[in-house]
Symmetry: C2
Subunit: 184 residues, 2 copies
DNA sequence: ATTTCTTTTGGACATTTGTCCTTTTCTGCT
DNA sequence: AGCAGAAAAGGACAAATGTCCAAAAGAAAT
């Protein structure tokens, strides 16, 4: 659930140093929004330090957290690849340091660098694996199962998430989360 | 929900004709299994004709259908990219004609052909968009909303799915599906 | 320490969904 | 048409989850 990608980070670190390229470093304060669902963005981010969350804000007022992103995770690439407005919101859970690449440069890189293509394909494949197996799991098992798994992951990754985010990650209400926590 | 990809099909058609490559054409009968969850596979399929379903078989006996795949959709590529056993089952819903590429050839192609990389990146990005927005929607809205959307898509795409598959796509039981169908 | 305000938790009830099993409908056969 | 068996639908109850709101706990100020 707390996704990282060392290959990607290494790749971008190098690019940033070697190249006098279009890449820049930028900071985001905790709680600020990197990408706003529905809005066009023309930048791709790669997290150098810190944690962000990707979440859908549905029209009924509820949120669904897709992933918690950390070192080496790329943001906004789907939007650039498919030329669409932001799929979901991305918010900083901690102070964040990110590499920023203009969409045009990112595309240009993709058109000439097999390494980047490979890294990206592997990352997208991994996300499909995660997202789809979680969707299946959450649909077909009880909340308690899902919660148990979440707590386990949190422990393993030394991550503390507030209850509201836990509920949004599980796609349930706070009330249900509290109930499930009791019964475990 | 019935995913296609004309670019991919065109690309493979050409490759199959031009090249005396490793690509072959193969047929699968309705109801046969192209990929079995958990088993290693060393082939990538591209659907030329027909419809397949990708589904998880969870340990509690329930199924969750990820997608219905048709012309130009690629199968088994995630497994090759990440070098893992099959993530889910893929079954033929109709008789199927597919191109088959050995994993090694597929990788070799990826390492030298930007066009393939681009097509694949676009396809994976699209799948992430679909899978994640559906996960969010299914978690945060009622079954009736989900069913309404499903019926709409079915109509739009001229697709008839049996009730069992509809339920598996929605991640609910047949009983719940019947109830929801009544109340619409 | 006491008060006040805010945040978190949990009770009570309503709604949704699942489970189990009976009833109904359909199909093929005579 | 009538029957037997199979498949699909639905009733009845149980379990899970959501909604709404009151109670409890925590934080800040004096």
């Amino acid at each position: 659930m707390l996704r990282t990608n060392t290959d990607f980070l290494t790749y971008i670190d190098k690019l940033y140093q070697s190249d006098q390229s279009e890449i820049s470093l930028q900071n985001f304060e905790k709680d600020s929004l990197l990408l706003r669902q529905g809005e066009k963005s023309h930048r791709v981010f790669i997290i150098k330090e810190g944690i962000a969350k990707c979440f859908f804000a549905e029209e009924n007022g509820k949120d669904y957290i897709l992933e918690f992103m950390s070192k080496g995770q790329v943001l906004g690439e789907i939007e650039v690849i498919r030329q669409i407005a932001c799929l979901c919101n991305v918010a900083a859970l901690t102070d964040l340091q990110v590499y920023v690449i203009p969409a045009a440069s990112f595309k240009a890189l993709l058109a000439k660098d097999f390494t980047l293509n490979k890294i990206l394909l592997e990352e997208l494949a991994e996300r499909i694996i995660n997202t789809s197996s979680r969707a299946s799991f959450q649909q077909l098992y009880t909340v308690e199962h899902g919660l148990a798994k979440l707590l386990e992951l949190q422990e393993k990754q030394n991550l503390t998430i507030n209850k509201e985010d836990m509920a949004a990650y599980l796609g349930i209400t706070l009330r249900s989360l509290n109930r499930a926590l009791k019964s475990i």
